[in-house]
C-alpha cells in the first residue's frame, strides 16, 4: 500500500484586521501594530463629558500640538502589553538580584553613618518624585490622543510605581526593614528646604492642562535632569570611598531611563518634525521647564555635593539634556537657569 501525503495549503482570506491592512497593506502584521493602530475610538462619541463640555471624551484640541496623524508617535521599543510585561519582568529579575546581593552582604548598613545619611537625604525622597511622575503620565494617558502615545504613557505610569518601589527597597535595606527611612524620606520631601524646588515643580506639572506640555515637562525635561543628577552624578559620593556597592542599586534606574528616553526622544522628534508651529511650541515648553528644573535642582545638588561640586554636577546633567535636544530637532540655546545661590538672591534683588 502506498500512502500519498499531499500538502494542501489554504490561503487565508485576509492577513490582518481591515484597519491595519488599510495602513500597512494586507500582509501579516506585528502584534505591536495590531495592538496599537487605530484602537482608540474617533467618532460616534455619544456622551459629551459633563465635566468638560467644550471637548469630546477623546479630543485633539486638548493640546497645542497638531498632528495630522497621532499614530505617527509610535514607540520604537514596540511595547504592547505582552512585550512590555515580558521585558519588565526580565528587568525586575535583574534588579532583584542586585537587591539580593546588597541584602546578603548588608552593604548599606556597613556604610559609614554619614554616607548612610547621604543616601537617605539625596536618594530616598525620589520615591515621591516617582509618584508625581506617575500622576503626570496618568494625565497624559487620560487626555492625550491616539493609542500609540497613550498606551506607552500608561505603561510608563506603572514603570514609575515600580521605580518608586525600587527606591523604597533601598530605604528598607538602609533601615533594616523598619520603614523609618521612608517616614523620614516623606518628611524631607514635604519639609526639607533642599527638596522643595523639586516638589514645587512636580506639583506645577500636576496643574498643567495640556497633556503634551505635561509630557515634555515630566518625561523629557524633569526625568533627564533628575535621573542624570541624582543617580549618576551623586554616585561618586558613595563609590569613591566604599566601592561599587551602592552603584549596583543606582544602576537600574539609569538603565531604565536610557531605555525610556529612546521612546521619549522619538515621540518629541516626530512632533517637532510635523510642523514649524509644533517645533516652536515644543521649544518654548522645553526652554521654560528646563530653566525651572535647573533652578529647582540647584539647592539639592549643592546640599549633596557642596556648592561648586553641585553646580558642576548640575551643569553636566543639563549638558546631557542639551545634547539630546538637537537630535530631536530642537535648539539647545538656553543657558541653564542659574547657579545655585543666584536664583533666590536675584529674585530677592528684583523684589
Amino acid at each position: 500500500m502506498t500512502v500519498e501525503i499531499r500538502v494542501r495549503s489554504v490561503k487565508p482570506l485576509r492577513q490582518t484586521f481591515g484597519h491595519i491592512a488599510r495602513r500597512f497593506g494586507d500582509k501579516p502584521a506585528t502584534r505591536y501594530q495590531e495592538g496599537t493602530y487605530d484602537l482608540q475610538s474617533e467618532v460616534n462619541h455619544h456622551y459629551k463629558p459633563l465635566w468638560d463640555p467644550e471637548h469630546d471624551i477623546y479630543d485633539r484640541r486638548r493640546t497645542a500640538i497638531q498632528m495630522a496623524d497621532w499614530y505617527a508617535l509610535k514607540d520604537p521599543r514596540q511595547y504592547y502589553y505582552g512585550s512590555w510585561t515580558i521585558a519588565r519582568s526580565r528587568h525586575q529579575e535583574a534588579a532583584d538580584r542586585q537587591m539580593e546581593f546588597a541584602e546578603k552582604r548588608d552593604l548599606l548598613r556597613h556604610l559609614p553613618a554619614d554616607l548612610q545619611a547621604a543616601l537617605q537625604r539625596a536618594i530616598l525622597p525620589l520615591r515621591h518624585f516617582e509618584w508625581g511622575a506617575n500622576t503626570n503620565l496618568c494625565f497624559v494617558s487620560a487626555y492625550g490622543y491616539g493609542t500609540a502615545l497613550t498606551q506607552a504613557t500608561s505603561m510608563a505610569t506603572m514603570d514609575r510605581l515600580g521605580m518608586a518601589q525600587h527606591v523604597s527597597r533601598i530605604g528598607l535595606l538602609l533601615d533594616g526593614n523598619t520603614g523609618s527611612s521612608l517616614v523620614e524620606a516623606k518628611r524631607l520631601w514635604m519639609e526639607d528646604a533642599t527638596w522643595q524646588g523639586l516638589r514645587r515643580q512636580t506639583e506645577a506639572i500636576f496643574v498643567l492642562r495640556d497633556p503634551i506640555e505635561n509630557f515634555i515637562a515630566q518625561a523629557l525635561v524633569a526625568d533627564a535632569l533628575v535621573y542624570e543628577l541624582c543617580y549618576r552624578r551623586f554616585e561618586p559620593l558613595w563609590t569613591a570611598s566604599q566601592g561599587a556597592g551602592v552603584a549596583t542599586l543606582l544602576d537600574f534606574p539609569l538603565r531604565w531611563q536610557e531605555e525610556t528616553q529612546r521612546w521619549v526622544d522619538s515621540v518629541v522628534k516626530t512632533m517637532a518634525a510635523e510642523s514649524d508651529a509644533n517645533r516652536k511650541t515644543l521649544q518654548g515648553w522645553v526652554d521654560s521647564w528646563r530653566a525651572r528644573w535647573n533652578a529647582a535642582l540647584a539647592p539639592l545638588a549643592a546640599a549633596v555635593l557642596g556648592e561648586s561640586g553641585g553646580a558642576a554636577a548640575l551643569t553636566a546633567a543639563d549638558a546631557a539634556l542639551g545634547a539630546r535636544l538637537p537630535k530631536v530637532g530642537l535648539k539647545t540655546t538656553t543657558t541653564p537657569a542659574a547657579t545655585p545661590a543666584a536664583t533666590p538672591a536675584t529674585q530677592g534683588a528684583a523684589a
Partner: protein, 102 residues
Amino acid sequence: MSAATDTGTVTTRPPVFIALQANNDTIPIVEAIQADNPGAELLEFPGMVKINAPGQLVIRRASIEERVGRDFDLREMQLNLISLAGEVDETEDQFILEWKNA
C-alpha cells in the same frame, strides 16, 4: 561576486535558502532579509517562510534591530529556524549563507 548579488543580478552560483517559522518573531527578520537581499525570493507556506537567494544570502543584525526596536542577538533567530542550505559564515553582526566552493 557579492556585489553582483547585492544588486539582485542573477549569478551562476548555486542557490541558498533559509526557512523560518512564520510567526510574530520572524516578521522583522524576514523584512530585514528582503531589504538586504533584493535578489531573494520569498515563498510563503502554512506556518513557514522560505527565502531562496541566488548565490548568497545576508542577514544583518543592524537591519533587524532597526525593525524590532531593541538589541537583537542573531542567535535568537535559531529559535525559529527550520532549515537552511549553504555554508554559514556567522559573526555578531551578520549571518551569511553561500556555497563557497561551488
